[in-house]
């Protein structure tokens, strides 16, 4: 079986020019290299081990969510806006329960409860067929409200400094543990999407739901699965965030949904479903994180970063729509 059909679904048999064959795969690495050069030229602090490690740590927490969000995009589930709520659930639960049942069991509980919210999303979007964006917007508000009611709207502090040291520590004194966790999640996510049956189904559902249903693929389960996965990973992100900060408030996850969506669309994963991959999404994340890092090193205040993100989302999606339309006409 030819593996590349998964990453280029609907592969129309047309003669491709050199640029269009390699342009899509090479554009992102080239963009990252350009940013690396630009950063080095603009600031002498940019190309240092310390700074680049910080970039990696910064992208790890969002990166875990990006893996799940890629599944949502590929299965044509649009986007999951309940991420801030599920991040908060993970972060709050782990810190509330850590002195009762210990940090690591508490972490498991946090992830499981977050995935429960994902099950609700999955049933509503996958089985009932509701609009994903509105559904996750509403379910996010509900879950966040429950989390706030749970803690009374205050900050929760943790008691377990040892767990914090484990997470913020470095393996062999070099590789930050949190980056390792992210890479592991990304690797597993990549294998699941590119090599497993579930991954194939995800691509199939995203490219042609009707044909896929006719081929006896459980399309509802696949769609629901993408949302459960995103919520679970967002819960994991929240748990890691909670443990490494030893403090969590209900607003802890604000903005993560946009960061993840920006990374995924900048990585060239189509909003229309059926194409894209985890490495591309993470390439997009690296691009956005490096861009932010350069802006910060240049002393640009944090507010314009939101503008950059908004423009990047609109621009990347518009480009995708344009390329698809041109592809359809040829």
């Amino acid at each position: 079986m030819n593996v590349s059909t998964a990453t280029v679904p609907g592969g129309r048999i047309v003669r491709q020019s050199w640029a269009s064959r390699y342009g899509a795969t090479l554009a992102m690495p080239a963009g990252i290299v350009v940013l690396l050069v630009l950063g080095t030229v603009l600031s002498d602090r940019f190309l240092s081990v310390g700074n680049l490690t910080n970039v990696l740590i910064n992208m790890s927490i969002v990166g875990i969510i990006v893996v799940g969000m890629t599944f949502v995009f590929v299965s044509r589930g649009m986007a999951d806006l309940s991420v801030p709520a599920t991040v908060a659930v993970g972060g709050i639960l782990v810190l509330m329960l850590d002195d009762v049942i210990g940090t690591w069991p508490a972490a498991l509980v946090g992830v499981l409860v977050a995935s429960l919210a994902g099950v609700v999303n999955g049933v509503l979007v996958g089985y009932a067929g509701l609009n994903p964006v509105i559904t996750t917007l509403a379910s996010g508000i509900i879950v966040l409200g429950i989390a706030q009611a749970f803690v009374g709207g205050v900050i929760v502090y943790g008691q377990d400094a040892a767990a914090k040291d484990v997470l913020t520590g470095r393996l062999f004194g070099v590789v930050p543990v949190i980056v390792l966790i992210f890479l592991l999640v990304a690797l597993l996510g990549h294998l699941a999407l590119a090599r497993s049956v579930f991954g194939r189904w995800t691509y199939a559902v995203g490219s042609n739901p009707h044909a896929t249903e006719a081929s006896a693929v459980p399309i509802r389960l696949v769609k629901a699965g993408a949302f459960v996965l995103t919520a679970t990973l967002a819960g994991l992100s929240g748990v890691l965030l909670g443990i490494s900060l030893q403090a969590a408030r209900p607003e802890i996850g604000t903005g993560y949904e946009f960061d993840a969506i920006t990374a995924v669309v900048v990585g060239g994963v189509s909003l229309l479903g059926g194409s894209g991959s985890i490495p591309r999404a993470i390439g997009g994340l690296l691009f956005v994180t490096l861009l932010n890092n350069i802006l910060i090193l240049q002393g640009v205040p944090s507010e314009p970063q939101g503008m950059v993100k908004g423009a990047l989302i609109a621009g990347a999606v518009a480009l995708d729509v344009y390329l698809r339309r041109r592809g359809g006409r040829e």
Binding site: I141, P304, V317, R325
Partner: protein, 347 residues
């Protein structure tokens, strides 16, 4: 199971779903009145209407966008941006011109949304999500994330003071707008065309309706009403703030959906939106009077919204049914006269 399906499929049930806003409104009033004494007094009602007025203006624009089958999530961010403009330019331009420029910013923002959706063909949810992020960040950028106040705190009283002890000007503005919208949607050709665009843009285009033009227009209209909402909100509290309107969009969507407008487009009612707004107004006031915290109020809004779109989903597949009020009453009458024959329809 079959009996359940038949009950779901009956004209009476579909009619109930269609005119749910009346039922929900009555239920809200009964529950609120029994829990919070005095909520039905004129002053309390006037106050709740005034509280909802900025959300209401956003909801007016949203009704039209939803009717066209699109969605606009950027209303809250446009609201904040227009408010900041209206307050921030007061020193340079004077108060009234600054307010006009504020509304103009809303128009511009609507044009940006329309451009993204119609010209660049981005899915409206994602396009307005991106523009929401952009406008909100722009607000934080301009104000350096700090709220600031305007020149004259008394200037804004025009819109927020009850006229002759009755209702405020902003309440009158949004009710008049909704009534005008209702007349436009039901009486004007352009309004009817918009229904066609929302139900089936391709068929509408084939019948000589410029579907894209209509969609563009709805976004500009929604931007304008959101801009007006922002100007009114900021003037009445004499403050421009980058965090204004953070929960407005969801509240407005909830009000519009309660009013019987479908997310999938093609069905909307301005009077329904008015009913939905009344529900939200009374509900919010009742919950605040009984000391329900804000996050519980959010849960209630979210649950109502989810339940209603779920309901719409399950009764949406029935095509070709005439469910206007007159047809509905006729079918009820027929069902009463002839119970065995209740499922036959007039062609």
């Amino acid at each position: 199971m079959n009996a359940v399906r038949r009950a779901f499929d009956s004209d009476v049930f579909l009619g109930v779903v269609r005119y749910r806003v009346a039922i929900i409104l009555v239920a809200t009033i009964v529950v609120s009145a029994s829990l919070v004494p005095g909520i039905l007094e004129f002053r309390a009602l006037s106050l709740s209407l005034d509280r909802i007025s900025t959300t209401a203006l956003v909801a007016v624009g949203l009704t039209v966008v939803l009717l066209a089958g699109k969605l606009d999530l950027s209303g809250g961010a446009i609201l904040a941006l227009s408010g900041i403009t209206a307050i921030g330019l007061q020193e340079e331009l004077g108060q009234v011109p600054a307010a006009v420029v504020g509304i103009g910013v809303g128009v511009l923002a609507g044009i940006v949304n329309g451009f993204l959706v119609v010209v660049l063909r981005i899915n409206s949810l994602v396009a307005t999500l991106a523009s929401m992020l952009f406008f909100r960040a722009l607000c934080h950028f301009i104000t350096e994330s700090r709220p600031f106040s305007g020149l004259d705190p008394l200037f804004g009283l025009v819109v927020s003071r009850p006229i002759e002890g009755t209702v405020t000007l902003r309440t009158i503005i949004f009710i008049l707008l909704l009534v005008a919208l209702h007349l436009w949607l039901t009486r004007a050709v352009a309004g009817r065309n918009l229904f066609a665009v929302g139900s089936n843009p391709v068929a509408a285009e084939a019948s000589g309706i410029r579907a894209n033009g209509y969609v563009f227009g709805t976004f500009v209209f929604a931007g304008t009403t959101a801009g007006a909402a922002g100007v009114i909100q900021s003037l009445s509290v004499n403050t421009g703030s980058p965090v204004f309107g953070e929960s407005t969009s969801l509240l407005a969507i909830a009000a519009v959906v309660i009013g019987g407008t479908r997310l999938e487009g093609g069905r909307a009612s301005a009077l329904g939106t008015l009913g939905g707004l009344l529900v939200m107004a009374i509900l919010t006031t009742a919950m605040e009077f009984s000391n329900v915290p804000a996050y519980i109020q959010n849960i209630v809004t979210g649950v109502i919204l989810l339940l209603l779109i779920l309901l719409d989903r399950f009764v949406s597949g029935k095509k070709g049914r005439n469910l206007s009020l007159t047809a509905f009453l006729r079918s009820v009458r027929r069902a009463r006269r002839n119970p065995e024959n209740e499922r036959t329809h007039a062609p």
